[in-house]
């Protein structure tokens, strides 16, 4: 019970401001890794994923929990700290889980042709997050960036839907990076 009540931002307005600037820079510069802090969500969820949830979700944002993230402790923590309604994947504005647990990705909303912003943001928990591996190019990247992605085919397919598609926040420990739909992903 106590684990549900603790682990939120102690000073929400300033801590979420710092967290959002990291998220803003991450989404603007795909592949670049940023450190965040302030959240202590229950296991198995990372600090960075907790920060993203506290900063972006609330009672107006349907959230889908996939795989190991769909546990009693986290459901209670989210209910107490953000109030985000937990929903099925096809109704989710945000989704949280490991890469394999989030599959099949076709379940998630990719927006509508006239409203491409009405699409899901996936918070993907990864075991490792390093600036090496798949080659990233596109908006926000001066020449190229490298990022350890779990695969490239799914992101290439997502890029093919542009301007539709989902956007990803990749989290590992207290670090995060982002991969918007606009990024072109190639194998290393």
């Amino acid at each position: 019970m106590n684990a549900i009540l603790t682990g939120g931002f102690a000073a929400p307005s300033t801590q979420s401001a710092h967290a959002f600037r990291a998220l803003l820079e991450a989404m603007a510069r795909p592949g670049r890794i940023f450190a965040v802090m302030g959240a202590e969500p229950p296991a198995p969820i990372s600090v960075a994923a907790g920060v993203a949830l506290l900063t972006l979700t609330d009672a107006t944002t349907p959230l889908h929990l996939a795989g190991a993230a769909d546990c009693e402790a986290l459901r209670g923590w989210i209910g107490f700290h953000t109030g985000a309604p937990l929903v099925a994947a096809d109704q989710a504005q945000f989704a949280l889980g490991g890469w394999d647990a989030l599959h099949p990705l076709s379940r998630f909303r990719i927006g509508e042709p006239s409203y491409p912003d009405r699409s899901a943001t996936l918070i993907v928990e990864l075991d490792r997050l390093e600036a090496q591996g798949a080659r990233l190019t596109g908006p926000g990247i001066e020449t190229e960036a490298r990022l350890s992605l779990p695969e490239t085919a799914a992101f290439r397919a997502n890029r093919g839907l542009f301007p539709l598609g989902f956007d990803c926040i990749l989290t590992c420990g207290a670090r995060l990076a982002a991969l918007p739909r606009s990024t072109i992903v190639e194998d290393a």
């Binding site: 929400p12 307005s13 300033t14 979420s16 401001a17 710092h18 959002f20 600037r21 998220l23 803003l24 820079e25 989404m27 603007a28 510069r29 900063t55 972006l56 979700t57 609330d58 107006t60 944002t61 042709p113 006239s114 409203y115 491409p116 912003d117 699409s119 943001t121 596109g138 908006p139 926000g140 990247i141 001066e142 542009f162 301007p163 956007d167 982002a178 918007p180 739909r181 606009s182």
Partner: protein, 290 residues
């Protein structure tokens, strides 16, 4: 001093989360206008309510804020917005472009090139570039969906037919990453080349029209033109009369009722820095060029 009666940066946390979600989607779809639930702000529409909401959602206590209005730090709009955030967010402020981490701007891009780590927030009156050609929102939305931008080229062509050149001098439309046509806010077209390949994050907020859009760093931004009438970034054909700069954007100032006029940099920080370095213009108080 922070006014304790307000939450940090004035807006409540739920509003900031809503704006922040819109900002992330705006960055993910460069040039696309994301609708957002724009709030009433304690200033009238047209005074930068969209920019203020975007700035409020981005500010951290560590930021140094610069606010410019047509390039100037010392005009009413800039001073009042700067004081608004001093009071509600207790952030440091500066007039120096290079020292600022967040710059809110009305209708100019600073002369000094921006760097990574800086955020440029534009105040936008009419976010829809097609609005004066097609007043219906559902129609312009369909045109963006279908990439149906022929009408915009017709407008530029009519400029050429009537004036012999593209007469649009500000709010000059651009194509972002080969997809969305975007209104860069009423910046002079002199500033258009700085939209492209800029290392800073550029965010656009339209309060009355309730739209947010964005350009990620190093974006591909092309001013619309024709092969035989290429885009040119124009400015008054003078040097600044105070600092002598020949390559900055100039304001024309009428100085008496007999037709005398002077040209001065619209970017006050740029002009003041140059004067501090000893540069002199035609009408400098200290006299002729050293």
């Amino acid at each position: 001093m922070t006014d304790q009666a307000y939450n940090f940066a004035y807006l409540d946390e739920q509003t900031k989360r809503m704006i922040r979600r819109a900002l992330l989607k705006a960055l993910a779809i460069p040039g696309y206008q994301v609708p957002f639930a724009s709030r009433e702000m304690p200033m009238p529409y047209g005074w930068g309510t969209g920019g203020v909401q975007v700035t409020a959602a981005c500010l951290t206590p560590d930021d140094r804020l610069k606010v410019i209005d047509q390039g100037a730090d010392d005009t009413t709009n800039a001073v009042s917005i700067r004081r608004f955030f001093q009071r509600t967010a207790a952030v440091e402020t500066t007039e120096r472009t290079a020292d600022a981490t967040v710059i809110q701007t009305r209708h100019r891009i600073p002369e000094q090139p921006l760097a990574e780590g800086q955020v440029l927030v534009y105040q936008v009156p009419i976010p829809e570039p097609l609005r004066f050609l097609e007043p219906r929102e559902n129609e312009t939305r369909k045109m963006h969906e279908l990439e149906e931008y022929g009408l915009m080229h017709v407008k530029l062509y009519e400029d050429i037919a009537r004036h012999g050149e593209i007469a649009t001098a500000y709010a000059y439309p651009v194509r972002v990453e080969g997809r969305y046509v975007m209104d860069p806010s009423p910046i002079p077209k002199f500033d258009n080349p700085k939209l492209a390949g800029n290392p800073a994050i550029q965010l656009f907020g339209a309060g009355r029209e309730a739209r947010i859009y964005a350009l990620p760093p190093y974006s591909d931004v092309v001013s619309l033109d024709f092969e035989d009438h290429p885009f040119t970034a124009s400015k008054a054909d003078h040097a600044c009369d105070l600092c002598g700069a020949g390559s900055s954007y100039l304001d024309e100032v009428i100085t008496d009722d007999r037709g005398s006029r002077m040209f001065v940099c619209s970017d006050t920080d740029f002009c003041a820095s140059r004067q501090a370095q000893g540069h002199r213009g035609r009408l400098s108080p200290q006299g002729a060029t050293p």
